[in-house]
Amino acid sequence: MSLKDNLISSFMVMENRGKVDLDSGFHQMRSEAINAFEKQGFPTKKDEEWKYTSLNSVLKHDYSIFPKSEAAVEFKEVKKYFVHEIETYKIVFIDGVYSSFLSETTHDGYDICLMSAALKKPKYKMVLDNYFNTIADKENSITNLNTAFTMEGAYINIGKNKVLPKPIQIVNFYTGSEKDILLQPRNLVVVGENSHVQIIERHQSLSDNVVLTNAVTEIFANKRAIVDHYKIQNDNDNASMIDSTYVQQKANSIVSVNTYSFGGKLTRNNVEFFHEGEHIESHINGISILDKKQHVDNHTLIHHKFPNCESFELYKGIFDASSTGVFNGKVIVDQEAQKTNAFQQNNNILIGDKATINAKPQLEIFADDVKCSHGCTIGQLDESAMFYMQSRGIPEKEAKALLLYAFGNEVVEKIKIPELKTRITKLIANKLGVKLGFEI
């Protein structure tokens, strides 16, 4: 039975076993989503948006769709996967099931809790009705799949005028208690006017068993809100991930989505920004450092619908061995969106003999009074710089790492949480196989 058939029959099982409330409008949304998925199927390479990424290698497994066990994990075993140097709110899932032991949630002034709880309690209904699945791409079959199976995830609702004292960490662990597992976390983040929120998201597999994560996050930033979202993707070689993040911004809000991809077998990131007001700032940053046969596909969309907004996009990639990088950066500027400034930059370094990069920066501009540009480069390390350092006694490996680190530093510099910046720097050093002799 193909994965698609398996998923569709699992959905029926979910309905029949009473796992979900069949009468609610929410269930209607699920049904529509599964019907859309059934019609669309998994994307193939014939689909323009998936031209360079084939899902065949990850779809061939016989995934279990509803995790059965509730495996326990000791904090000391997984401490290293948290940014533990600072106080944070934590929402932790183990094999898709909430772990209250590792988590630190709150309802004090604002809600940082679970999707499953929000789905059950009537007081959250209005928020869910207003926001849930309103900006997720209905044309995207994989997002529809996630919508159909929405069970668990982070639910973050911050009211007006709140500056969160500490960042929120959303961490998903997979213990490998089941052989092949498909997980579909669904996050909803609603940030009220003038509020500030920082989110760090991580998905980590603790065994070598195959895992496929299909995560969807919707972020709503109301007027003057500031939201920073950091995604750490440093999973092992059997873990694959399709992450879709949809962001809606109201006037004067500032949202940044930052993706750090260092691991995983196949990673696909969809980041889509929709503007609903003037004077919005959007930032999308990403760095990918890959080796072996890893594959990362960054798909971004910024849709400028209103005047006087700005977007900044910066993606860097370092590709070693037989790794593959894909970058597709779409910027659409509607006719009404005069005075838009949209900048996009994508720089890549190929180190591996069999490494591949496919880039498609794309501008679609319907307004005349705009400043839009994109730049894309693919190149190698500067030989004279390498020679300079080696002639001064820096070994080749370190010299190379130093140059690569400098190359990626522009992205790392944008991190606003110092401890996270240090963490990312260490991950980069680790990935490059060196100890950088300086502290950040």
Partner: protein
């Protein structure tokens, strides 16, 4: 002097009439509308073609029947009804074998209007012209001068008769019949075009030029150009096109194949000025062209195009850099106005070592037009030290037009260096202010800026053609240039 603003320019652009929109009343022989194997056999018979050619066409037709019209381009247009087009139309009185004096005086009059009267061309130094009206080649000049050097420059229909081996060897090698929908259609029904062969070591002493014109209504033009530059040779080839103003949409589906053998260089320049439709978007030519060149070792192909006409343009002059050290270049200015739509760009396929490519694309959109750049730079795993530089800039005039870029960059080799940059903007207030402040009035300032914007490409045109290209740009953007 009254203040000339960008709005005035826009106004002028929108109301600018198509200067080449005249129709010459030529007595023409036109085939009945429709397309089937009989029509193809009839075209082939009309041309007195050998059997292999007829079979080749029929094969292409069968392939075409299986294909679907491409949908991926960023253009919207009513799909042409391929059964409502006449696939052969020839001015009756024109006979390419007679001297110029025998040419229909009305034809000569038409060339005069085109600004390329043969008399004038004769006076101009060193341009040999092959003129294709509707579907057949009507005049080729300087044939003898070229023959002395061993250069073959003639209508492809004659080449099929006189040099069947050469045509057979090269035709369809760069753009195969199966390549795409319009290339297959062209392969089946092409009625004429130019053939050019430069022998080993010969530097063609003059620019070779072809003029295409669709004259008859209800016809399509399907010409095929094949340029072969043998080892160490050089040729510069020019191509221009116009059509009368008509309410209907006419189809132009051409195929151009360039073959640059070892150490050869081909410079191919196009000034495309098919009728773009009137200012309400009615009529105009659908220009669906497949152009591709193959570069062998140490050779170079350079495409330069000035695209000002056509209601819908769908055109990607490409280079397959097969040989080591080969070079591909693409310089383009695409101007769209009113309801014109252009989806144009290039493909640079790097296969050989040390291959280099340069892409400079300038798009200027005005009125309600849509201008897209679509390009592919592909570095094969074997293409060590490949180098590409791409730049595509768009200038928007007015807030109802659009400029889009769809660059695809694929690299499979770690030694490749690729740079791509694109910008979109309007004529900057600051730029205008800077000029005004220094005593340059707004009209001149706009001219200066547009000129400067296009210069990189205009400079690449051969001298003889640059005058003409300037003129065409003036037509499309009159009031801003000069």
């Amino acid at each position: 002097m009254s203040k000339y603003t960008e709005d005035d320019l826009r106004e002028e652009l929108e109301t600018q009439e198509y200067e080449y929109g005249f129709y010459t009343d030529l007595d023409a022989e036109t085939f009945p509308k429709g397309l089937n194997e009989d029509i193809i056999r009839a075209i082939s018979a009309k041309k007195n073609e050998p059997e292999w050619m007829t079979d080749w066409r029929l094969d292409a037709f069968r392939i075409w029947e299986q294909m679907e019209e491409p949908e991926w381009a960023n253009v919207n247009y009513p799909k042409p009804d391929f059964q409502a087009i006449s696939y052969y139309s020839a001015p009756k009185k024109a006979d390419p074998n007679k001297s110029l004096d025998d040419v229909d005086p009305e034809l000569l009059e038409m060339y005069k209007k085109l600004g390329i009267s043969i008399d004038e061309q004769k006076k101009l130094q060193g341009v040999a012209v092959d003129i294709v009206v509707d579907s057949v080649s009507v005049a080729t000049t300087f044939k003898e001068t070229l023959a002395e050097k061993g250069i073959i420059f003639m209508p492809i229909s004659e080449a099929i008769q006189e040099y069947p081996e050469l045509v057979k060897k090269y035709m369809g090698t760069v753009v195969p019949k199966t390549d795409n929908f319009y290339a297959a259609l062209n392969s089946a029904v092409f009625t004429d075009g130019s053939f050019c062969y430069i022998p080993k070591g010969v530097k063609c002493p003059m620019e070779l030029s072809t003029y295409f014109r669709i004259n008859e209504g209800g016809t399509g033009q399907f010409e095929r150009t094949l340029v072969v530059a043998d080892e160490s040779s050089y040729v510069s080839y020019l191509e221009g096109c116009t059509a009368p103003a008509r309410d209907e949409n006419q189809l132009h589906a051409a195929v151009v194949e360039l073959i640059a053998l070892d150490d050869a260089e081909i410079k191919y320049s196009t000034v495309q000025n098919w009728f773009p439709g009137d200012k309400d978007g009615k009529g105009g030519v659908f220009n669906f062209v497949t152009k591709r060149g193959i570069c062998h070792t140490n050779s170079k192909i350079s495409w330069t195009q000035v695209e000002t006409g056509s209601a819908v343009t769908w055109k990607y002059p490409s280079c397959v850099l097969k040989g080591d050290n080969s070079v591909g270049e693409f310089y383009s200015i695409a101007v769209t106005n009113n309801y014109q739509q252009a989806d144009t760009g290039t493909k640079m396929i790097h296969l050989g070592k040390n291959t280099k490519s340069t892409i400079i694309s300038k798009g200027i959109s005005a009125g309600k037009s849509q201008n897209s750049y679509r390009g592919l730079v592909q570095i094969n795993g074997r293409a060590e030290n490949a180098r590409n530089f791409s730049q595509c800039d768009s200038l928007l005039m007015g807030n109802k037009c659009g400029a889009h870029t769809f660059p695809y960059i694929e690299s499979k080799n770690k030694s490749a260096q690729i740079e791509h940059e694109a910008t979109t903007s309007k004529i900057g207030e600051d730029q205008l202010f800077y000029c005004n402040q220094r005593g340059i009035d707004t009209e001149k300032a706009i001219a200066l800026i547009v000129n400067g914007f296009s210069k990189e490409v205009l400079n690449k045109l051969p001298m003889e053609f640059a005058v003409e290209a300037q003129k065409l740009l003036e037509i499309s953007l009159e009031g801003s240039v000069g």
